[in-house]
């Protein structure tokens, strides 16, 4: 019998596209399951998908981990740009107590976590890194959950503002910590000074350039036309590629691009970008990828300090929010909901851990142990807590 040459060889070789399809399918299913049956945020389903995938030792699905990195950053960047667009810096001028509140909650969380880490006898430099990564609130989780539940109102607005500002504070402090790290590792003063400067300055300049490019392009397209959105996506992709190539922070560049593209848009040509379905895909990618990266070999040993860290952090944030709640114009009840909503940790910590590990492997490993453990706990607990807060604030629109 002639061989059935037109049939493919067995076993099938699946390329990353198939893996992507399978992962997306599982994520969507688990997301719906979470939403329908457990009344949980969909992103919880996505994170669980990622964690399940990471259990597979190798094989086709393992490809996702390596290959998805750039897609992950692009998706993350889309979300950050979208979040940035929802940030109105003019609000800080109209209500300066918000700035006080945001600085307060970040700083108190930073100090509380720092004090605890010193208590656990971490070296000072590592302490600063851990505290800076812990002090901010995860913007992607905020955006994901509030989009998922159609939230609108004071608490949602403030959550977005605070998570964006917190990310910026953390970024600056991490930049300074890097300078310190170089010093400790006896680098020349040029490197000590120049790397953080390059990192902060470069990311900001890149963000500003992207914002200007978006606005320039949009000036020629009618508001509301979907070509506006497509042009913006093109610029975002370009900015991500540049940030990667130049070794800058995509997080800060894109967040900044979003913020600027809004505040420089004097004629309101730019409708607040709604990337629609695309941003839902981006959410899935970001949280599935986060899930796959959430592996801490030292989960059990680091669990205690991690839980301590989370408690200290929550306490610091809570005090900071309550202190400025009344003057900033919300009731104490809403302040407690805001404090709960600020619990999510930033997935950007993953990028920092990786970056650190690539420069100083030993410190990176120590950082990974505690930060990833805390992140795993928070990725499970925080989204439902945030959803709860938004529901209690009566800001969600759910069927």
């Amino acid at each position: 019998m002639e061989s059935l040459h037109f049939l493919p060889a067995w076993p099938l070789s699946l390329d990353p596209l198939a893996c992507f399809g399978i992962a997306l399918f599982i994520a969507v299913s688990l997301g719906e399951l979470a939403a329908r049956w457990l009344r949980l945020p969909r992103i919880t389903g996505y994170v669980v998908t990622g964690m399940l995938l990471s259990l597979l030792p190798s094989g086709p699905l393992g490809e996702l981990r390596g290959g998805a990195h750039l897609i992950f950053e692009l998706a993350f960047a889309l979300l950050l740009f979208e979040l940035g667009q929802r940030i109105d810096l003019g609000w800080l001028r109209r209500n300066p107590w918000l700035l006080a509140g945001s600085l307060g909650e970040w700083l108190l969380a930073f100090l509380a976590v720092g004090a605890l880490m010193l208590l656990f006898q971490l070296p000072p430099l590592l302490t600063v890194l851990v505290a800076a990564l812990a002090a901010s609130t995860g913007p992607a989780v905020i955006l994901g959950v509030s989009r998922d539940s159609g939230a609108r109102g004071q608490i949602s607005d403030r959550l977005m503002l605070f998570s964006a500002l917190g990310s910026c504070y953390s970024f600056v402090v991490l930049g300074l910590a890097y300078a310190w790290a170089y010093q400790e590792h006896a680098a020349s003063w040029q490197i000590t000074l120049l790397h953080p400067l390059y990192l902060v300055g470069g990311s900001v300049v890149l963000g500003a350039a992207a914002a200007l490019l978006v606005l320039r392009t949009l000036a020629r397209i009618r508001p509301g036309n979907s070509s506006q959105t497509l042009a913006a996506i093109a610029v975002i992709a370009l900015a991500v590629a540049l940030a990667k190539a130049l070794d800058l922070s995509t997080v800060v560049a894109l967040l900044f691009a979003g913020i600027l593209s809004r505040s420089l848009d004097r004629e309101r040509r730019l409708q607040p970008m709604d990337f629609g379905l695309l941003s839902r895909v981006a959410l899935i990618i970001v949280f599935v990828a986060t899930g796959t990266l959430l592996q801490a070999e030292s989960f059990t040993t680091a669990l205690l300090p991690a839980i301590g860290l989370l408690a200290a952090r929550a306490l610091g944030k809570g005090i900071g929010i309550f202190a400025f709640a009344r003057p900033s114009g919300i009731s104490l009840r809403k302040a407690s909901l805001l404090s709960i909503g600020l619990l999510p940790m930033s997935g950007a910590a993953l990028l920092w851990v990786e970056r650190t590990a690539s420069i100083w492997p030993e410190m990176g490993a120590q950082l990974a142990a505690i930060v990833l453990t805390a992140l795993i706990v928070m990725e499970m607990l925080a989204p439902p807590a945030l959803q709860f807060a938004l529901r209690r604030a009566d800001e969600t629109r759910e069927d």
Binding site: N95, R222, P223, G224, R269, Q271, G329, D394
Partner: protein, 376 residues
């Protein structure tokens, strides 16, 4: 329930005194869509000394402001300006915008949140989607009356001028993201309610009481609040209440509308220009539709002479009749601004022109908010 069988007592108030209520939109600075914020806004305003009264309305995206009682429309205007400034300052702290207009140009009614108060939830249960669709914004003008009989006389007399009030205040050409072709689309949202439109031809307060008790015994209404008429008596305040107007885009227009109401009432009381009889209402819905649809370009059938004129001409002729009364009340300058609006274009015209420039509803709402904030 025992007191519900008592007669509605008409509180005596000074003839031709004035008060105004405005329902305003709370919108997001981000995209100009309606957003919730009434609770926080009211809490902030409560914490500072202010003129005027601030109340929640049906949904979290609305706020109602009202003035005290004034004899002089210019003083009323001054209070409204102060109320406006309070509102805008506190809204700024919450990153909210406040704007006038009879309806939001592109909101989706299904997204509205009912303000947490028993009466509002009750209405929501009773009227279903109508309750949320009722996210429309009106100006109510109260004119004081010494007794109920006079209130009923003014109620019916004013019905002749309802088309003027509609065209002067019209500020809801867009609804749910489309140009409705109406100058005031808000009136169509109100017409869906069972007790909307005109009041029955009842001339004496005692007869009105009878009518009210009848309706109450049928279970049709529980209180006066259940009547959504274009003009209704308000016995607690001792006023006749004109409810037909869209909330205008500026405080000035709101003040001028109140001044117009006051002047027409004086004219009616002093000159008694026509008899109150059912024939007044024969053309009522036709005139009302013409004004809501076409604004001042619409037609008006004069119920007395049975002739068709343009609404603009009829309004200008009315202003001439009112002139001596305006001089007496000190409303001449305010009425002039209305004459200007009638010839140069009302708020609906302004909204259409503004939208035509950028073709963005977000921008339109932004411009509306700027107009509300800055108008002097």
């Amino acid at each position: 329930m025992s007191e519900s069988n008592l007669d509605l007592e008409f509180t005596q108030s000074e003839a031709l005194s004035l008060g105004v209520e405005l329902e305003l939109q709370i919108v997001s600075r981000l995209d100009g869509d309606l957003t919730q914020g009434a609770t926080e806004l009211l809490a902030l305003i409560e914490r500072r000394p202010h003129r005027g009264d601030f109340k929640p309305e049906m949904t979290e995206s609305m706020i109602e402001v009202s003035t005290g009682v004034h004899r002089d429309s210019n003083e009323l205007g001054a209070e409204l300006l102060s109320v406006r400034d309070t509102l805008v300052a506190e809204a700024d702290r919450l990153n909210l915008l406040i704007c006038g207009g009879g309806a939001h140009p592109f909101q989706h009614w299904a997204e509205r949140k009912i303000f947490d108060k028993p009466r509002f939830h009750q209405l929501n249960d009773l009227y279903g989607y109508l309750a949320k669709q009722f996210t429309v914004f009106g100006q109510h003008i109260h004119v004081g009356c010494p007794n109920g009989d006079e209130a009923m006389f003014l109620l019916h007399g004013l019905s002749r001028y309802i088309p003027h009030f509609i065209a002067l205040s019209a500020a809801s050409p867009y609804y749910q993201g489309v140009d409705t072709a109406f100058d005031s689309s808000r009136l169509n949202a109100i017409s869906a309610f069972p007790l909307s439109g005109r009041a029955p031809l009842v001339k004496r307060w005692s007869e009105f009481n009878e009518y009210f008790h009848n309706m109450q015994s049928f279970g049709v209404v529980e209180s006066m609040k259940d009547f959504y008429w274009d003009i209704r008596p308000k016995p607690e305040f001792g006023t006749v209440e004109i409810r037909i107007c869209d909330t205008p885009l500026t405080v000035q227009r709101a003040t001028a509308l109140a001044a117009y109401a006051q002047t027409v009432c004086r004219y009616l009381l002093v000159e008694r220009p026509f008899l109150i009889e059912e024939s007044l209402y024969a053309v009522y819905t036709y005139n009302r539709f013409q004004a809501a649809r076409f604004g001042f370009d619409g037609n008006l059938i004069d119920p007395g002479s049975k002739t068709i004129t343009s609404l603009r001409d009829d309004f200008n002729a009315t202003l001439e009749n009112l002139a001596p009364h305006a001089a007496e009340l000190g409303t001449s300058t305010l009425l002039q601004t209305l004459q200007q609006a009638a010839s140069e274009g009302n708020d609906a015209r302004w909204m259409r022109d503004t939208f035509a420039r950028q073709r963005s509803f977000g921008d339109l709402v932004w411009q509306q908010a700027q107009l509300w904030r800055n108008s002097r």
